[in-house]
């Protein structure tokens, strides 16, 4: 018998979904907006994270070493620096490598190349490029280098010149990160509220039917069940529509956005997070449909 009742609840829910086309359409539309917003927030948060990490990678400091400094001592210093917390990476560039990079970068510039030849020797210094997570970490590294026994091999530290730029990059990216999260949270909350009210109105229009069902002896679950099935179907339909919309957006507009902002690759983000995006949309669709229906129907079951 429970199977028979479940079968009837599902059948009735599917029937209501089809017959009450206008109500289903209104619910699906509002769910599509909300799920799209959730997907948009998820994707933009991911892409923004990638872009922020990319920009922060570029905010590094360079420590230049005096000519003839022993590589062993430089490597020893590098080892010590890796023990610092919040250091993301340290790259060693030898004098020869620095020269090669310069030539590679400026090979088309004749005047520069001629001046380099006139010098006769390699004018570049060996260096360590250090990337950290926070501006504070750079300051700790700099004070370590200035005070420790390594000061004799350090020629110069390229930090104070870049300090304000680095600080600005960190402040802007951290502001975008925090504001983005707050704005997304408010948007999702507002649209969820909209979904709740739409579903509440939908159920309000059927409060008489709920009452009648109760009076002819239907149990709460027999009355509530079809509404939940109908809500789940609206959620699933909204998921499919949103998925197609987001897929279309990523496929056709993603490359265009990437050509303006090379750090932002929507298509690759969509590809590498495909399963999470699908699950997020599907679960949001189901929850946003079912939970408000469950809550809204409660008070009409009091009869």
């Amino acid at each position: 018998m429970p199977n028979l009742i479940t079968k009837r609840i599902i059948k009735s829910g599917v029937q209501n979904f089809k017959r009450q086309g206008n109500l289903s359409f209104a619910t699906i539309s509002i769910l599509v907006i909300t799920i799209s917003l959730i997907a948009f927030v998820y994707i933009s948060h991911g892409i923004l994270g990638m872009a922020i990490a990319n920009i922060r990678e570029k905010a590094d400091i360079s420590v230049y070493f005096q000519k003839q400094s022993s590589e062993d001592k430089i490597f020893e210093l590098r080892e010590k620096l890796t023990e610092f917390p919040q250091i993301n990476g340290i790259e060693y560039v030898s004098e020869d490598e620095a020269l090669e990079r310069f030539i590679e970068k400026h090979k088309g510039e004749k005047a520069l190349m001629e001046s380099l030849q006139e010098l006769g020797a390699n004018p570049f210094l060996a260096s360590l490029n250090i990337r950290a997570q926070e501006v504070d970490s750079y300051e700790k590294v700099v004070s370590f280098l200035e005070n420790e026994s390594y000061s004799d091999i350090v020629e110069k530290i390229d930090f104070y010149r870049r300090k304000s730029t680095i600080e600005r990059i960190f402040n802007i990216t951290s502001f975008i990160d925090k504001t983005g999260f707050l704005v997304s949270f408010i948007l999702i909350l507002a649209s969820s509220f909209l979904v709740y009210n739409t579903i509440r109105l939908t159920i309000y229009t059927q409060k008489q039917e709920i009452g009648i069902s109760r009076l002819v002896g239907a149990s709460n679950w027999f009355v509530r069940g079809p509404f939940l099935v109908q809500a789940a179907l609206c959620g699933i339909s909204a998921f499919f529509i949103t998925f197609l919309l987001i897929g279309f957006f990523s496929y056709f507009l993603g490359p265009k956005i990437s050509s303006f902002f090379p750090e932002i690759n929507i298509l690759s983000f969509f590809g590498s997070n495909f399963r999470t995006i699908i699950l997020t949309q599907l679960i949001s669709g189901l929850l946003l449909g079912i939970v408000p229906s469950f809550l809204a129907i409660r008070k009409y079951l009091e009869i």
Binding site: R8, E209, G217
Partner: protein, 226 residues
């Protein structure tokens, strides 16, 4: 079968709908509850359906006090009762067939039982050709007959008919009353509320008269004098 013991119903803040009502209904009886609009007839039926709770007193149905039944057990009480309302209370999103079948679905009848019984009952009330219509597509008289079909499909012990002819013309009124009489002759207890003197005269059944919430007469053979 049903016993009202000193029932008083007061709607907040101070509207007295029923005042100290006591009477008994025997199994298989046809009882008319007469009275003007606002006399308390509908409230009385609502109390039997446990749609409302009495302010004072007890209602006993088959030995059980109705207002002490737990919320989760109410559907089981209501499945023993068939209800017909003045405004039909059909499910607008379901066809006539589905409306009648709904009660059997609720009690867990098999699909075969449902299709056999529903068609039979629709034939009894003369709606076999309207099975696939929605309530809004049929006339008032047909809607009321559909409501009666729904009320008797699960063979309830008692049928409550709350002014079932209130919105009908004389021809349809007569049809509905005949149907209720037939159902009663087959052994089902019927409680009918009405303010129509002609119906009371025609039926010649026990009649309780209410006035402003008080029981003023209980006659073995229908009279309605106000």
């Amino acid at each position: 079968m049903v016993q009202f013991q000193n029932i008083t119903k007061i709607y907040e803040p101070d509207t007295v709908a029923l005042e100290n009502i006591s009477f008994k209904i025997k199994e298989g009886e046809f009882l008319i509850i007469a009275g003007r609009s606002g006399a308390g007839k509908t409230t009385l039926l609502k109390l039997i359906l446990a749609e409302e709770d009495p302010t004072k007193g007890k209602i006993i149905f088959e030995g059980k006090e109705i207002n002490k039944i737990k919320k989760g057990e109410l559907p089981f009480l209501r499945r023993k009762i068939g209800a017909v309302f003045q405004d039909y209370k059909l499910l607008e999103s379901k066809t006539i067939y589905e409306n009648v079948a709904f009660v059997l679905e609720v009690i867990g009848a098999t699909d075969e039982e449902i299709s056999t019984n529903v068609l039979k009952v629709l034939e009894i009330v003369g709606l076999q050709n309207k099975a696939d219509n929605f309530p809004k597509e049929i006339s008032a008289g047909e809607r009321q007959r559909a409501a009666i079909a729904r009320a008797l499909i699960h063979r309830p012990k008692i049928i409550l008919a709350d002014e079932p002819t209130g919105n009908l013309d004389p021809a349809n009124t007569s049809e509905i009353i005949n149907l209720l009489e037939k159902i009663n002759k087959l052994g089902t207890t019927v409680i009918l509320t009405t303010h129509d003197k002609e119906i009371i005269k025609k039926l010649k059944k026990r009649t309780i008269t209410l006035e402003e919430g008080r029981l003023i007469r209980d006659d073995e053979e229908g009279t309605f004098i106000l």
